[in-house]
Symmetry: C2
Subunit: 314 residues, 2 copies
């Protein structure tokens, strides 16, 4: 099965799917949040997914590595370096090594695969593209880089929209291209990641959305909105600022034309009818993934939902 | 006063001199051991001197930062990265930030000055040049990079000689050039660093040796050889392999034509006459710098020795 994932929420469902599917899972990860910091290439979503699948993610934050230390960051500050981005000592090894390999001419796809093998991760992990794509947040103050908006401004500026700089030149890496086949994958899961800044960049890589549709396999999304709020991150705030209702209905509408079904939380059961009117199947479940068991349970729901939808696609 | 310094021994005497001279001291540091590791520019001698003068050097090893942690190195190994060079988490901040500034077009001189200011170090610290110079060790196996010889091979291969690759294109940085003046400095101290791979590269920067001589100020060396051995590092082994006697006489002979005097250890007092026959003044002292007090005492000896020599130069 294929999963499209951004950061924390995406990595949790990917972990649940990995528990069931093992190396039958391939995760396509957003790279539009990637940025260079002190000369190091940082890939927040790739790292979050990789650490989660390796079982070394920090269970408190959902991102970063468990039992992290911060000696380097303290010294960076002492030396007058930028310390607004929380670079952990362990996390740094990933950034240093990735930057080194990229400078030597390796693709991000190849570096990601190296790390996957070293960390003995069963599922395949693919950056959505090897070309640099950068999310810009349109605001009344102009276009802001995503990390600037997200980390420095703590998402406090209202958003007007999003641009994915470089997306027209982005191509699907050959190893990912080979995966976009109905022979290899019978289900496509859109993880509960931010639809605007995590999933949309993936779907905006030229031909990627069309290739997913051409697989003619069930596409199931999981709503990142639960009871009028996002579990984590600015998704709810963005939906509000874009003048849409903060409910799974907006998520379903956003993915209309791509998804066959959406999993919404039990607390949002009242919205099911409205979603179904869009021609999208609905399943309600506990979608808050606190702990490994709930990750796996939600993954099972997605798989069974996909199987049910598959029958209707014949 | 000016001091020429390499790594640990040099940084200790520089600390002693700094205790007395404060911002009246300028240290010229060897950069021929510098190398790139995982895309980071490592400057072992500059860092050792900087950490020592900032009072943050590891007192056990003499290099690296006190209370260092190793989280990043452990992860680098887990990810399959080279871990033969001991990169500490705190130390990493220096390498990351330096590499970042150098890539942005700053000179090594400017970066060193940045760090000096941030760490509130009184003496000036100057890399010998801003151009890349690399020590190659000539051996029966061919020419080896210094770090390869020093760290990977633990100096086990016999040396035949040394080359300083790039030295012909090296220039004295303008801020250092401005310091090579008898108006600013009344004494030049050659610290007890390795004469072949720490001090010789400095003296080989085109015009630097001549500029030091043209200052017509006392030049005093401190022997890194005590009782037939080096306190640290491969100096004694190199002297032996180059078929010279392992005594302060070889050090004096090596610096002949540049130095007016040499400080040798009390245990080597018997060699004084032989050194004086070379036309070089001798002073004996406790030269083993165990602790701040002994660093300062040896620095005082150098200064008084210089003053005595100054009278003979009039």
């Amino acid at each position: 099965m294929l999963a499209l994932a951004g950061g924390v929420g995406g990595s949790k469902l990917a972990s649940g799917l990995a528990d069931i599917a093992g190396d039958g899972l391939a995760v396509i990860v957003n790279t539009a949040d990637d940025f260079d910091h002190l000369g190091l290439r940082i890939c927040p979503d790739l790292d979050t997914v990789t650490y989660a699948l390796a079982g070394i993610a920090n269970p408190q934050t959902g991102w970063g590595i468990v039992d992290e230390t911060w000696s380097c960051l303290d010294r960076l500050a002492a030396l007058g370096g930028d310390d607004w981005f929380r670079l952990g000592d362990k996390d740094l090894a990933t950034h240093i090594l990735r930057t080194h390999y990229l400078r030597q001419g390796e693709t991000l796809t190849a570096v990601t695969e190296r790390f996957r093998q070293r960390l003995r991760i069963a599922p395949a992990i693919f950056p959505m593209t090897d070309q640099p794509v950068r999310t810009l947040v349109r605001t009344a103050q102009g276009e802001l880089g995503f990390q600037h908006y997200f980390v420095k401004l703590r998402c406090e500026v209202p958003v007007l929209g999003f641009l994915f700089q470089g997306i027209e030149a982005a191509t699907i890496p050959a190893p990912l291209e080979a995966q976009l086949s109905p022979v290899l994958h019978d289900l496509i899961v859109i993880c509960p990641s931010n639809p605007f800044v995590s999933v949309d960049p993936i779907l905006s890589v030229p031909h990627l959305r069309e290739r997913l549709l051409a697989m003619r396999r069930p596409v199931v999304a999981v709503s990142p909105i639960i009871g009028g709020a996002a579990v984590k991150g600015p998704a709810a705030k963005m939906i509000r600022e874009l003048a849409m209702p903060v409910s799974p209905v907006s998520i379903a509408r956003h993915y209309r034309g791509l998804i066959h079904g959406i999993v919404i939380d039990e607390v949002d059961a009242a919205h099911a009818t409205e979603v179904e009117k869009l021609g999208i199947h609905v399943r309600t479940a506990e979608t808050l993934m606190t702990g490994k068991e709930r990750q796996r349970k939600l993954a099972e729901t997605c798989i069974r939902f996909g199987e049910a939808i598959a029958c209707t696609l014949q």
